[in-house]
């Protein structure tokens, strides 16, 4: 039978690279079977930071936002501070309403719906350029406004 396999030298070279990688696994079937679990944590942490920036840009304290949005104070603190916080759908809509952000897109950023590529990319840019401080610096404000612009555009388009 004719040998149709690769050369041993190639396999040795690839074996070294394969060993240096953490995994060779693919996830097509796993995604279809719902085996991949929750969406990446980064989307939730970006959500928390976005809420914090939106609140601060309006000059609101956490308490004031909780009151205006009719959301439990502890829940907002958790959203803003906890990496893996999973907000309730109602909370996302209440916050969107209070902060004048597009609710449907905010649900995507919160990781409660499938995120479209343009929103993921904008979220990553926002995360990379933002640091939680007391007041918004000009650079933070620019990053925040750019992200909100993408959300609004995606909302209009979709």
């Amino acid at each position: 039978m004719k040998n149709t396999g690769p050369r041993p030298e190639w396999l040795r070279e690839m074996a070294d690279f394969e060993d240096s990688c953490r995994s060779i696994s693919v996830g097509g079937m796993a995604a279809d079977l719902g085996m991949l679990g929750a969406p990446p944590a980064e989307s939730r942490s970006v959500f928390g930071r976005l809420i914090e920036f939106a609140r601060r840009s309006k000059g609101l304290s956490v308490e004031q936002l909780a009151e205006q949005a009719d959301v439990d104070l502890a829940e907002i603190v958790e959203i803003e501070r906890k990496q893996n916080a999973v907000p309730q759908l109602r909370t996302v809509y209440q916050l969107a309403n209070a902060l004048k952000l597009p609710a449907g897109k905010l649900v995507e950023v919160a990781g409660l719906a499938t995120t479209r590529p343009e929103i993921s990319n904008a979220a990553l840019r926002f995360a990379a350029r933002s640091e939680p401080t007391t007041t918004l610096s000009p650079a933070e404000r620019e990053a925040f406004e750019e992200f909100v612009k993408v959300l609004v555009q995606a909302s209009d388009a979709g």
Binding site: T4, G5, P6, R7, W10, L11, R12, M14, A15, F17, E18, D19, C21, R22, S23, I24, S25, V26, G27, G28, M29, A30, A31, D32, L33, M35, L36, P39, P40, T114, T115, R116, P117, S120
Partner: protein, 164 residues
């Protein structure tokens, strides 16, 4: 896995895997378009791969819509994982390379000119991009934002020509 736990290796640093459990995956083989491949050595399965030939087409601009072999699942057996954190080398090596080669050959046999597509788990992205030199097409919201990779006809032909 017990070794990883005992050595206190952070869960995030464990090799990403989707369980060496065939009860769910075997059901996939009932579909007409699915094929299963495996490597058996020392009377044990050392690596397995499931592919599909009908439900996925090329997403590359130059080959959009053309048929390809889609790797739905591929995995090396856990005892073949190299895990530096616990100083362990895999029992058998190059499992992923051998199975990927088989996928290209299947694609040729089907008349798909070696085109192969897959969604990599995050830890495996480097392997498919730098190791196998597939083209990264972008994150796929329909597959939980996994990065989708493709091997084009030209890439497949070059790989086979260089390394056969």
């Amino acid at each position: 896995m017990q070794e990883l736990l005992q050595k206190g290796v952070s869960r995030a640093d464990w090799p990403q895997s989707l369980h060496w459990d065939w009860s769910k995956k075997a059901l996939q083989l009932n579909l007409l378009e699915s094929s299963g491949f495996g490597i058996v050595c020392e009377q044990r399965w050392q690596g397995v791969m499931l592919t599909k030939t009908a439900s996925h087409t090329s997403r590359l601009a130059a080959e959009r819509g053309k048929p390809l072999v889609y790797i739905d699942y591929v995995e090396a057996a856990p005892w073949n994982w190299t895990v530096p954190e616990i100083g362990r080398e895999g029992r058998f090596r190059a499992i992923g390379s051998i199975l990927f080669w088989r996928a290209i050959k299947q694609s040729q046999e089907e008349g798909f000119y070696g085109r192969v597509g897959l969604h990599a788990l995050p830890q495996a992205e480097q392997w498919y991009e730098k190791g196998l030199r597939m083209t990264s097409v972008g994150r796929d919201p329909g597959k939980q934002n996994l990065l989708y990779f493709e091997l084009s006809r030209q890439q497949a032909e070059s790989l086979l020509k260089e390394h056969k």
